[in-house]
Amino acid sequence: MNFTLSIWRQSPGVPGKMVEYKVSDISAETSLLETLDMLNEELTLKGEEPVAFDSDCREGICGACSLVVDGRAHGPGKLTTSCQIFMRSFTDGQTIHLEPYRSAALPVVKDLVVDRTAFDRIIQSGGFISAHSGPKPEPNSMPIGYDELEESMDAAACIGCAACVAACPNGSAMLFTAAKIGHLGLLPQGQPERDQRAREMVAKMDEEGFGACTNYAECQDACPKGVSIKFIGRMNKDFAKAMLCAEDDRRGSMDVN
């Protein structure tokens, strides 16, 4: 198969643009990222700079790959990541457009690579259960219902790829944030910090420059792990309760040191 790849090229400090490359003799079972590998081999030998793009596990779980293929985050198909797109999903001779995520909070580093440290900072603001390593209570002393656990797992399945932000017309990170708040909030272990988690993660999300939710549900459609927007509703409720009904946050006031 032969394709024209129209790829966003951008170096630090220089405005980017779409550049076209021809690739030929690609077999249908080659993956899109392998096609990029091949293009990069050619570019290297020609003395041109290869296309920078993120990828690591190449089996759809690490969340590193992050392309927007012909206007769709990750590429054609549902429940998939960029690394799991194979050339058989395209028609021979087609032009394939490859763009980086577009979000003020996830700035382009180079070509198709974006900086997603904003997601780390959202987690830092409360996406955890404080439990220092050491002896802990017996897990079966705190039974968790099957359905509750599975629902929590539905949210925990998020791979942090940020396709939700890329797909959202508003560049919103609600699905990512809601998935973490939902995962921890559905478990009994997550209750003690539930209010402050909702308060701080939601505030952090805005601070990082993500957009707001207008219920387009594009995020859910693009999510490789099928995380549902119901978690956004859950997050909203948790947040409203934490802001309007919960006790004051007394952290800090107890420190003696």
């Binding site: 993956s31 570019l43 290869p50 690490c62 194979f86 220092h132 929590s152 478990l187």
Partner: protein, 637 residues
């Protein structure tokens, strides 16, 4: 050089407690005076950094990925072992120790393995407390599944994403410490060297992958949690960026490398389809519970599998291993697949693939039952290959998966370089010559949450008040050396890409130091590798510039290290003139085709010391003790 494993001279059941009671500790007020560097953010690195930060140490965490959450621990599917005995089926610390030690073909360190088994239950408690959604039964208690090679149900899981969930638990704990200012994380930063001052490891040299800047970081101790080296084969189940660089550069600074030839080849992976393929995807081992493995009896049979009648199918595992059949351990299944393909029965154009057929299982149990058990795996396979395994059999072939070898460490997990620690897959670990399924997650978390945080104080107390910072001339010297190496890579501007060298090296390793090995092949590899390395250093072409994100340069540096490391791996494989676990020497096979160990000569850890660019490695053998468990022969007939 004397390798002292520091294992207390008491029965293994008492070793860990006795050891903890006798080592130095650092008090909570003093911990903030120490700086610790952790390299790698997988299960071991993230859990260690989070634990050390929570204890009060100042931690710097480095990873080459864009976020610590992406480390390849995330890809582990099956589960994590713990001897909770929730099924009431006779599990115990001793039994987990026994299974692990036997699975490793008695090439693990007894005291370490026992400690691992002891710690296993605490890991589950810890992870559940952190909110890791391990699967539950309807009644709300934790669920278990069974896994290969053992007689009890002790594997805990979170759907097919156990590694991901455990890693996210550790990552979240890590981010909590980042928020508290106890850990500072450096993503997209690759370690290039360790800095030794007065025989102690006092810091590292790194390259900021975004800007190309070479930085130095001083610390009181350095922990390497940088994973395994299966990508020496180019294509493996590892992530494409996994590499041996950190471990290798530490090795070249004096840290001895143990058992590099021990590599696990996983039997059920999707076969290679073409030259440009970048990675091999693992299909869970559990498929072998119901699938039947076969090849056509006629060589080069091009008929569709459904059209091949029963008597023309060669169910080679069932024929050769009538009692275990398709459920023989990983190493045995892998070698059998290789054999039929080498004999010319392999499938398709490449000839490297065998069928894993659910036809009979679907006929017997119904499609719905199979779908319920394996639906997600069938879908995953269909997505990748465009073949529907409900209609036509899976095609599978073994692929490099996990490396049991690694940096040598003592009972404190410290390498022979003072102040340099290695944890997780990066150390030579507790798995002997073969790792059992669902044991790698357990080992990483045992090291990171429970062992290292408690043992590191023993060393730190020792160096109290000998502060050294980045102004020390050694840092500049090492940084200059790293820069010079990068410059020389950039300046070659030859005619071949770094990837082409990695592919060629991978082919050499797969062919001559793969699933089964012999002296002739290994000697051949030992001729080819230095030649390829020479060619690399005169003909590689690195694109782009060194002062911005340059993935070509990153790969070149990693391939350069693989090209050196591969040679040591072959040397070790040649030196270990016995078969054990995953290491099969064709010269040492029982008549029934099983591995023949030589406990008299090789019941040791082979630890190799770097003697300089032009000198040969020196071998140090650490004798293994078999006081608790007498080695026996594994048989699966």
């Amino acid at each position: 050089m004397e390798l002292n494993s520091k294992i207390p001279n008491v029965p293994i059941q008492e070793a860990w407690r006795t050891h903890l009671d006798s080592i130095n500790l650092v008090g909570p007020k003093n911990r903030p005076k120490y700086d610790i560097i952790v390299v790698g953010s997988g299960l071991a690195g993230a859990s260690a950094a989070a634990s050390l930060g929570a204890m009060g140490y100042n931690v710097k965490l480095f990873c080459f990925q864009d976020s610590p959450r992406r480390a390849h621990s995330i890809a582990a599917q099956g589960g994590i072992n713990a001897s909770k005995n929730y099924r009431n089926d006779g599990d115990s610390t001793w039994r987990l120790f026994y299974d692990t030690q036997k699975g490793g073909d008695f090439r693990g360190r007894e005291a370490n393995v026992y400690r691992l088994a002891e710690t296993s239950t605490e890991i589950i408690d810890q992870c559940v407390s952190q909110g890791v959604p391990l699967a539950r039964e309807y009644g709300g208690n934790l669920a278990n599944r069974s896994f290969g090679g053992v007689l009890v149900e002790r594997t805990f899981y979170a759907r097919g994403q156990t590694g991901q969930q455990l890693l996210l638990g550790a990552y979240q704990a890590l981010e909590e410490q980042v928020a508290k200012g106890k850990v500072k994380q450096y993503p997209r930063t690759e370690m290039h060297d360790i800095v030794k001052i007065d025989g102690r490891c006092r810091g590292i040299v790194v390259r900021d992958l975004m800007t190309g800047e070479i930085q130095t970081h001083a610390a009181d101790a350095v922990v390497l949690a940088t994973g395994g080296y299966a990508n020496v084969y180019h294509r493996s189940t590892n992530a494409v960026n996994c590499n041996v660089t950190a471990a290798w550069r530490a090795h070249k600074q004096g840290s001895v490398f143990a058992n590099p030839c021990f590599v696990q080849i996983h039997p059920t992976c999707i076969p290679v389809h073409g030259d440009h393929q970048s990675k091999l995807t693992l299909m869970s081992e559990s498929l072998r519970n119901d699938g039947r493995i076969w090849v056509p009896r006629k060589k080069g049979d091009s008929r569709k599998p459904a059209h091949i009648p029963e008597d023309e199918r060669f169910y080679y595992l069932e024929e050769r291993y009538p009692s275990f059949g398709n459920l023989v351990p990983r190493d045995v299944a892998s070698r059998a697949a290789k054999k039929v393909c080498d004999d010319g029965y392999g499938l398709g154009e490449t000839g490297f693939g065998v069928y894993l057929d659910f036809r009979d299982a679907i006929a017997k149990q119904g499609k719905a039952a199979i779908e319920a058990k394996y639906g997600n795996l069938f879908d995953m396979y269909k997505d990748i290959t465009d073949d529907d395994p409900y209609e036509t059999p899976f095609k599978i072939y073994p692929a490099p998966h996990y490396t049991m070898g690694g940096l040598w460490v003592d009972y404190n997990l410290m390498t022979n370089v003072q102040g340099l620690y290695a944890i997780g897959e990066a150390n030579f670990s507790d798995h002997g010559a073969n790792r059992l399924g669902a044991s790698s997650l357990m080992q990483c978390l045992a090291d990171g949450y429970f062992i290292l945080p408690q043992t590191i104080g023993d060393y730190l107390r020792d160096i109290y008040q000998q502060k050294i910072d980045e102004d020390h001339p050694e840092f500049e010297k090492h940084a200059d050396a790293v820069s010079a190496k990068i410059d020389s890579l950039m300046n070659i501007q030859g005619t071949r890409t770094p990837l082409s060298f990695q592919k060629e090296l991978g082919e050499i390793m797969w062919q001559y130091c793969g699933m089964s090995r012999n002296a002739t092949d290994l000697k051949k590899a030992l001729e080819l590798i230095p030649k390829l390395r020479k060619e690399f250093w005169s003909d590689v072409k690195v694109a782009g510039t060194k002062d911005s994100l340059n993935q070509s340069l990153e790969r070149a540096g990693r391939v350069a290290d693989f090209l050196e490391f591969a040679e040591l791996m072959c040397k070790d494989a040649l030196e270990r003139d016995e078969s054990c676990g995953c290491h099969l020497r064709e010269e040492h096979i029982h008549e029934d085709g099983e591995a023949k160990r030589n406990d008299e000569k090789f019941s040791h850890v082979a630890a190799w010391e770097w003697m300089g660019e032009d000198a040969d490695h020196q071998l140090h053998a650490e004798k293994l003790s078999h006081e608790a468990l007498k080695p026996t022969t594994r048989s699966y007939k």
